[in-house]
Structures are given as C-alpha cells and as structure tokens.
Assembly symmetry: C2
Homo-oligomer: 125 residues x 2
C-alpha cells in the first residue's frame, strides 16, 4: 500500500498547509456531493463547506499530524479512506488540542476530491 | 441522516460489546477483502483480522464511545463511514486511553460487514 500511503501523505500535507494559510482555498477540494461533519455539525456541498471552514472563530491555526493511515475504500474505483490524528494549535494558545479527522478521497482527472470529511476534537479523559 | 446515525449507533454498540466480551465473535463482521490497520499495522481478511484482535495482549477491555459520526460513503450503494472517538479501559488500569476508530460498513443481505477498519490510540500532547 505504498502508493496509497504516499497519496494520503501528499493530500494531508496539502490540505493542512492550505487550511493553515488560505482556508478559502480548500473549496476546490470539495464537490456538490461532499459532506463535512465538523464537531457533529453536518454541512454539504463545496460552497457551504468552504463557508463553514472560513467562518471558524480563530485567526491563526496550525495542524500537526501525529498519525496517518490509509486504505483503499472500494473494489471498483481507486478511492481511499484517510484517517488522521494530530494536534491543533489555535491563535496564541499554548496547549495544543488533539483532533481526529477522516477523509474519503475520490479520484477525478488525475487528482482527488473529498467526498467525506469528519472532524472531531478529542478532549481528555 | 437519522437512519445513517441509528445504523452507526447500533453497529458500534454491537461491535464494542462483542469486542469487550467475546473478541473471537468479531470475525463474522469481516470478509476476505476486509482491511484492518491497528496502530499502523495492516491485516487483511476475516480470519487474519480475528487472529489479530484475539491476540491483543490484554485480558479485559472496555470501550466507551465519546463521539460518533456517520456519513454515506457512496452514491451507488448504501455504504457508510463511521468515525468513533472514545476511551479504552484495559485490565486493571485506572487511566483510560483515548482512541480513534474508523469503519466503512458495506450493506449485505439486510445487514452490514466491515470493509475498512482503522484503529489508533491517541497519546497526549
């Protein structure tokens, strides 16, 4: 699964660097059928998802990936599920927050778009 | 997405209660094409996955679900992605461990099997 893992690595590096520097630029990764669950709140469609992501109430954010796993998600197309755990540094906060995020990536024209996106913060026990 | 959410809730309640009381019973949820990534270690196929799960080095375990999210994962079949975060109590340990787990469930004969399963412990920052 070397290829799957390198696709997952490239995608997540692009996704989080875009999130951290130019959130509006994430819209191109989603389509009309795309779904986002952000802390349990559902949103559908590229425009609505971009609106949701750009309206999150922080100015500066930095994602650091801790673990990254990927698996093929279909016997018929080259889609994949990518599961990330990591740390989120928000504004001038000194205590990073743990998060979990899952994507399903669908191949399209030599690249991929995000069909599924589920994000959760992980609060301590 | 009420239906999706109730399927996800039923599945995860069954999965974790089986895991915590009769781990070998999980084999019936997987098929030959099923994939498990457990702490980054890949396993494929129902028998190999059951062997992996039953050989995990703890005697007693209890899963507690903290968050549960589900989305449809295909435009053509009624499959779904289920994302769980929760706490794991192992043997007589007093400090629960946080975990993240992702499943893709595929419909089959009025029920579902697990095609994808990605499990990670979340260590503190």
């Amino acid at each position: 699964m070397a290829d799957i893992n390198s696709i997952a690595k490239q995608f997540t590096e692009f996704y989080y660097s875009t999130f951290d520097t130019n959130r509006a630029g994430l819209q191109s990764l989603y389509r009309d059928a795309s779904m986002l669950s952000f802390e349990g709140q559902p949103t559908q469609g590229a425009a609505a998802i971009a609106e949701k992501l750009t309206s999150l109430p922080f100015q500066r954010v930095q994602h650091k990936i801790t673990t990254l796993d990927a698996q093929p998600s279909s016997p018929t197309i080259a889609s994949l599920i990518v599961s990330v755990t990591g740390l989120l540094l928000v504004d001038d906060g000194e205590n990073p927050l743990q998060f979990s995020q899952v994507f399903q990536l669908i191949p399209e024209g030599g690249s991929y778009y995000v069909l599924n996106d589920i994000f959760r913060l992980n609060y301590g026990a």
